[in-house]
């Protein structure tokens, strides 16, 4: 949900944008790097996702 909000606000979020927006989402399994990648992947497709 934090990622959705970010994609509403930023066309091309940077790693720093992603980190700030999702800093409240914690992961003990360590997927942070993949969360960043997933958001980068989603960004160009956000029109479809946010419909």
């Amino acid at each position: 949900m934090a990622a959705i909000q970010l994609l509403f606000e930023k066309l091309q979020p940077t790693d720093a944008n992603i980190d700030k927006a999702t800093a409240g989402n914690i992961c003990i399994c360590g997927t942070y790097q993949r969360i960043r990648k997933a958001i980068h992947l989603a960004a160009p497709n956000k029109k479809t996702i946010l419909k």
């Binding site: 509403f8 992961c27 399994c29 360590g30």
Partner: protein, 717 residues
């Protein structure tokens, strides 16, 4: 301008008010899937072994002897079957097995997922399962087509003979009538799946919310229980007043148990409010004085005396006296919680002759035996269903089955269907930790800067005493593994490794990477220290000491190459290196960081792993990323402390995790290897803390002797 998200349309959460007040947040569960059951097998099924079912429709069901806790075996084990079976990957459905002899670990006498042994222990058996099935399907199809079996090939769920194709489903009935053959497995050079990253089979349901974890289990008449446990381990209830608790809407029953009070309610929130409303007077008992600072002092005293010998060679006292240089160091490690994202929970139904348990457990055979014993049942009368685990790390394989037995006992005592839930606070402060340890080492070096004497004492509890997993009963291996048997000590002609195993009532439990979680820090920072003391580069120094250890060297050299160790770093950037060996695998890590305003900025971790065959390479990379974050979290923030008998930490505010904005870039490089196989679940945890500490030494000139790392450690020494 911030735009509001329409949460309801996305259906993430559904809120409703409870009758009479109180907030209930219920998750929208997919229709019909509220209770985990084993997948219904198709009515007519070809099941050549316990791991595989093929329906007349060609669907493939794979039954796992191991449990999925995020480590990826839900995908890796099916890859082993699919490599030999030549089925259509998209038709595979996966489930966890029940408890059964067929699912026993192939080299440890139990049924469970631990020790990073899943892929190692099933590498042959699962491939065989696929090969046996394929051979029988081919024979059945060949008979039907009237051709010799050796003229047939298989692909994507079909047996092919010339221009004729027969689907596996068509001949599955015929195949099930054939005798089970012996088979030859495919050569690595012919592998189509193994060694190529595959998309995870559990990703879709974990992304769309359909995945069921233990905490999601729900069915009619299921009540929720929470337990008020003594804040001091071993404490007992002296008296209690449950009147206010009973009056909370939704609270059904309050039961006193030997070590606390259980509140049983219609739902978790009512149970929690009920527990909050209990007035309990505790008799804390002898452990009311437990204190971490006092324990450290007691451990220090012990470390001054001789312990039990774990390993020795030569005459360390004489050699130390002759040393040109000596390094003396004391290391202190705190208790650590596992901190699984899904707190412990267990659902139980008990009748007069059957017990059904739903639990995300790592060792279901243990739980079955313990539940049967408690209920005076035969083991077969206890049926365990395992949903996905929201993290295990060892806690969900509790050697005494504490959280499962608690639920079984409550179900029996109340006569109700019970879902026992531990809150995050219960979990963090409830014990079963990685023990605290003290190390004291004295190393003597010669004029060339190499160690000629090494005296090492360890003080701490054993996680294995009085369990079937205990190794040598004289020496607790989990306290000294990584020191005992260390390749570095092979170099040292005079050494002594001694252990004081302590006993107290703080429950302890194996924690991801077990003994190496502390011993690797000590070994890798000491090696670093004596390298610098002799004016040597830490990578080059390790190359010399490990010259007879090719697999250690391979990961060290790969990490150094990818990190460009010999190229100077930009100004204000520093790096450190560490190695670990464990579970049949070898890992090297190099950390690059800066220190900015007394805070660590982690830039990059370069990780090299040799796990032999990397069945699912992306899975191995994900495991290394996971190990690194888990280890960094512990190194930077992890500490459970006791004061006046009580654990001080409660939740992720005071038992912190690494956050995404602290996450370095992690690069994982896999050493190719086809003739062996090792695990990847734990081996990446131990080296990250010493690699970090060695990088901090490069930055500050100070050695880290205590974890977690503190702000004063970051000031230049």
């Amino acid at each position: 301008m911030k735009q509001a998200i329409n949460v309801n349309r996305r259906n993430f959460l559904k809120t409703s008010t409870l009758l009479g007040g109180g907030l209930v947040i219920s998750f929208t569960l997919p229709a019909g899937i509220k209770r985990l059951a084993f997948i219904e097998p198709p009515s007519s099924v070809f099941s050549p072994n316990a791991f595989l079912r093929i329906g007349t429709d060609g669907s493939v069901q794979i039954i796992l002897s191991k449990v999925e806790m995020g480590q990826g075996i839900w995908t890796t084990l099916p890859m082993l079957i699919a490599e030999e079976l030549d089925c259509d990957w998209s038709t595979i459905k996966v489930e966890h097995s029940p408890v059964g002899k067929e699912y026993a670990h192939t080299f440890i006498p139990t049924q469970g997922t631990f020790g990073s042994t899943s892929t190692v222990s099933e590498f042959d058996r699962y491939r065989q399962a696929g090969a046996v099935a394929r051979t029988m399907l081919v024979e059945a199809a060949a008979k039907r087509l009237g051709v010799p079996a050796n003229t047939c090939s298989t692909e994507n769920g079909f047996v092919i003979a010339g221009d004729k194709r027969v689907g596996y489903g068509e001949v599955s009935d015929d195949a099930s009538k054939l005798p089970v053959p012996s088979v030859t497995l495919r050569e690595p050079k012919d592998w189509k799946l193994i060694g190529k990253s595959q998309p995870r089979l559990d990703s879709p349901e974990k992304v769309n919310g359909k995945a069921i974890f233990g905490i999601d289990i729900q069915f009619p008449d299921l009540l929720t229980a929470v337990v008020a446990r003594s804040p001091v381990f071993g404490g007992k209830v002296k008296s209690f007043d449950g009147a206010k608790a009973k009056a909370i809407n939704g609270v059904i029953e309050i039961i006193q148990i030997p070590y606390g009070i259980a509140v049983i309610a219609n739902n978790y929130w009512a149970a929690k409010l009920g527990r909050d409303a209990l007035k309990i007077e505790w008799d804390f008992g002898a452990n009311a004085t437990l204190d971490s600072k006092q324990q450290l002092e007691a451990y220090r005293k012990l470390a001054k005396t001789k312990g039990k010998s774990a390993q020795q060679k030569g005459d360390v006292t004489t050699a130390l006296a002759k040393a040109v240089k000596t390094v003396t160091a004391e290391f202190a490690f705190p208790y650590l919680a596992h901190a699984m994202m899904e707190p412990l929970n267990c659902t139980v139904k008990v009748s007069s002759d059957k017990c059904e348990i739903w639990a995300g457990t790592q060792i279901p055979s243990n739980d079955q035996a313990a539940a049967a014993k408690l209920l005076n049942f035969k083991p077969e009368q206890v049926v365990i269903s395992t949903p996905f685990l929201g993290g295990g790390f060892g806690r969900r394989g509790a050697l005494n089955c504490d959280w499962v037995i608690e639920a079984v006992a409550l179900a029996k005592a109340s006569g109700k269907f019970i879902k026992l839930v531990w809150s995050r606070e219960d979990d963090i402060s409830g014990g079963y930790y990685r023990p605290s340890y003290l190390h004291h080492a004295v190393i003597g070096m010669d004029s060339k800067g190499f160690p000629i004497a090494w005296q090492h004492r360890v003080v701490g509890q054993s996680v294995f005493s009085n369990t079937p997993f205990g190794g040598d009963l004289e020496i607790d291996d989990s306290s000294v593994e990584g020191i005992k048997g260390s390749p570095y000590l092979e170099w040292v002609p005079n050494h002594s490794v001694e252990l004081h195993t302590t006993k107290n009532d703080i429950p302890v439990q194996p924690w991801r990477s077990v003994g190496k979680s502390h011993t690797c820090f000590v070994m890798e920072t000491l090696i670093d220290e004596i390298a610098f003391a002799g004016g040597k580069d830490p990578v080059e120094y390790r190359r010399i000491l490990l010259k007879n250890y090719p697999r250690h060297l391979a990961v060290l050299n790969l990490a150094a190459e990818k990190a460009k160790w010999n190229t100077p770093l930009p100004k204000a950037r520093f790096r450190g290196v560490a190695l670990n060996e464990g579970n049949g695998s070898y890992v090297a890590q190099i950390v690059e960081l800066s220190i900015d305003k007394k805070k660590i900025q982690l830039h990059r971790v370069v990780c090299a792993i040799d796990c032999g065959v990397a069945i699912n390479p992306d899975g191995v990379k994900a495991q290394m990323e996971s190990c690194i974050v888990y280890g960094l979290t512990a190194a930077l923030y992890g500490e459970i402390t006791l004061e006046k008998g009580q654990v001080k930490q409660r939740n992720f505010n005071d038992y912190r995790l690494l956050r995404i904005n602290e996450m370095p870039v992690v690069e994982v490089h896999i050493v190719p290897g086809l003739d062996k196989i090792g695990g990847a679940g734990e081996t990446g945890v131990p080296p990250i803390a010493p690699a970090l500490a060695n990088a901090l030494f490069a930055a500050t000139g100070k050695r880290i002797r205590k974890l977690p790392i503190r702000p004063e450690d970051l000031v230049k020494g």
